[in-house]
Symmetry: C2
Subunit: 405 residues, 2 copies
């Protein structure tokens, strides 16, 4: 029997208990041992709930119990999660977490503590919920140099952008609707400003580069400025707009970014709608691959957490996770990255085309239906620095959206 403790009995924590109870037969068979939940740590009590008799309020009960081999941290946030997880590892217990903030900030340190003690620190559920992208990078795509990871890593914003695209709704309406049906928090900042996706791509970037990528270094732009007008242009271009989190290798450099981007119909992420997440990967031998699934939600996330528990139960005393070094990776400055840009400009095409092309060179002009007093252009490929210089010479730029080719 493998005794485990669950820290945090919120949405994910109760999901973990539900998954283990519902599928105990196959889970125990795959773990080749019985997974037993001995404690659930929470500040609250849950009278009437079957787990009430397992509730403890003091983390030391867990840390000091030698029978506990695996601890599941699903409290979220940096503290006290970081202190608890570190103490559990130092006490010789493997840890599973779904906490992206914790992994993005302290992953390298916690991985090395686990490695030194022949334990495991696994965090599949911290990125892409039910999509097994971390294990794929850790144990499936091990023969490849991963050159590109491009993902839709936030379900809330993908749901919102899908609604705006298909229903022509505007940002505020869809945000309100997403909040009303529980897809978005009352304070949606972490999702709509791209902070959530940023932490996730920081984790994936660290994994593929083998070095610490600080999320603070990743250029991050949310979807709050995307309007139904932008979607009209997207339709006209045969494209859609998604919040893209990507990490690309240019020779020895890595370029990471989170921003709303235009994708054409041929892009594998084009048709990933609603709350779904997907991660597109390009390996130098494998070529293109894509992983698609529920990026969030109680049970898909819990399913990923429990799969990590099973893996740790199969590997007690044996470290299986690829490390990344604490040493920090310097990302390629965004000014040096190249792409095409879609730009909305005040005025009308005939009057301003020459002026615009004098600055940007040849551009593709696009006019959306029923939008007077403005027009759109698609530039040639240029560096972001170049774009910034050129765009500063143009009056009346309304909005710019990058194009992911």
């Amino acid at each position: 029997m493998v005794n485990i403790a669950v820290m945090g009995y919120g949405t994910v924590g109760s999901g973990v208990v539900e998954v283990i109870n519902t599928n105990s037969d196959i889970i125990n068979q795959r773990a080749a041992d019985e997974i037993n939940i001995k404690y659930v740590l929470d500040i609250r009590d849950f009278p009437g709930d079957p787990i009430q008799d397992k509730i403890v309020h003091d983390v030391d009960v867990i840390i000091n119990d030698p029978e506990i081999r695996i601890v599941v941290e699903v409290m979220g946030g940096i503290e006290p999660a970081y202190t608890f997880v570190k103490r559990c590892l130092e006490a010789g217990k493997s840890v599973v977490t779904s906490n992206k903030a914790l992994v993005a900030k302290h992953g390298a340190e916690l991985l090395s503590i686990a490695r030194d003690r022949e334990l495991n620190f696994l965090f599949e559920a911290s990125v892409g919920g039910g999509i097994p992208i971390i294990r794929a990078l850790n144990s499936c795509l091990t023969a490849d140099k991963i050159e590109v990871i491009t993902g839709i890593l936030n379900g809330t914003t993908n749901y919102m952008l899908s609604k705006m695209f298909y229903e022509g709704a505007d940002y505020d309406e869809v945000l309100k609707e997403a909040q009303d049906n529980g897809y978005a928090e009352r304070n949606p900042e972490a999702d709509v400003e791209g902070y959530d996706a940023c932490r996730k791509i920081a984790i994936l970037s660290s994994l593929i580069s083998g070095q610490q990528v600080d999320f603070e270094d990743i250029y991050t732009e949310g979807i709050t400025k995307i309007t139904k007008k932008d979607m009209l242009y997207a339709k006209k271009l045969g494209m859609t707009i998604k919040l893209i989190a990507s990490s690309k290798r240019h020779d020895d450099h890595v370029h990471a970014i989170v921003a709303p981007m235009l994708l054409n119909k041929e892009h594998p992420l084009y048709s990933v709608d609603d709350v779904f997440n997907a991660v597109f990967v390009h390996g130098n031998m494998l070529g293109d691959a894509m992983f698609y699934g529920s990026g969030a939600g109680k049970l898909p996330t819990a399913s990923a957490v429990v799969a990590d528990v099973v893996d740790e139960a199969k590997h007690l005393h044996r470290n299986i996770m690829t490390m990344w070094k604490n040493e920090k990776l310097t990302l390629l400055p965004i000014e040096d990255t190249e792409k095409r840009f879609f730009v909305r400009i005040e005025g009308n095409t005939d009057e301003r085309r020459d002026e615009v092309e004098k600055v940007f060179g040849p551009v593709r002009i696009v006019n959306a239906d029923d939008l007077d007093g403005e027009f759109g252009i698609v530039t040639e490929v240029m560096s972001e620095g170049e774009y910034r210089k050129k765009s500063s010479q143009i009056e009346g730029i309304l909005h710019m959206i990058r194009i992911e080719d």
Copy 2:
């Protein structure tokens, strides 16, 4: 240093050598040891090829060399592959194979020999080439009861059906073209008759059920009867036709089938075109997930083989693969499985509608452009047995295609 031998220096075998040489730095880092190709077994010599000095013609050289820890079997076919692999395992060497015929027929036995000796027998590349679906089932989706696996598992037929759909080409033209550009064999039977996809879904069915599923028991229908006329109807229905290999759990039964099926636009496999493969999975906790990538090709397949080699190098003396029992699983008879059916019938709608609906009950009528003297119907959901009984009462049925909902 971990010494390995490669049996078979054909397309995949030379790909394995190329992958290991190209990515040796990251591969050795992930394996935490140096992977060294000591022998390549082939009946031929390769004068001038850098591996010539590693070529051996006698498998006993490999079997009797205690330095060889891992053997890669990429010869294909049942014999001598089966005998060689079995002897390698019995000699204490882990084995990696891309050989779906071997795994489908002897997987259970070879897995148990490996298990008994604390070795590994891995076969990621035998299904879906570069798509890590087997490892996903083995180590990622371990918290879930997998209720549905539906896949496009054969790149050749998917390429052909894509051409027929988008270019309105007919079967013989696209087959010739596929053969000319190397996507199809001169003898295309294994692909176009569905035998290849059948072995692959047999392997996946064995994995999710934990019991031996004999490919001979799986109802298998190829794409040779699909015509451009069928594609005209598919377009009219807003659907496409794919060669689907699926395995579904009904209570305690498993139903497996390989057949061309109509998919609507909302189906996650609808937009998987050309030589790409994809596997859609539904877990009782995870919900829907999809894995997409190059299903074949020298380097993607070799990439999957080498990833297995890395995993075995990390797990010498430790069995990591889920078993399936030798005990055979009885599949649900196809007569008892339920779906909707699309049927092309001679004559014209007005004259025959009543007669057809008297037999099938209410049907959706569909008429394709420029097709006179026939019409199509879509039935309600019914069992295959029921369909067969009813259709035998209708004269002039031209073709039936199942609908995957």
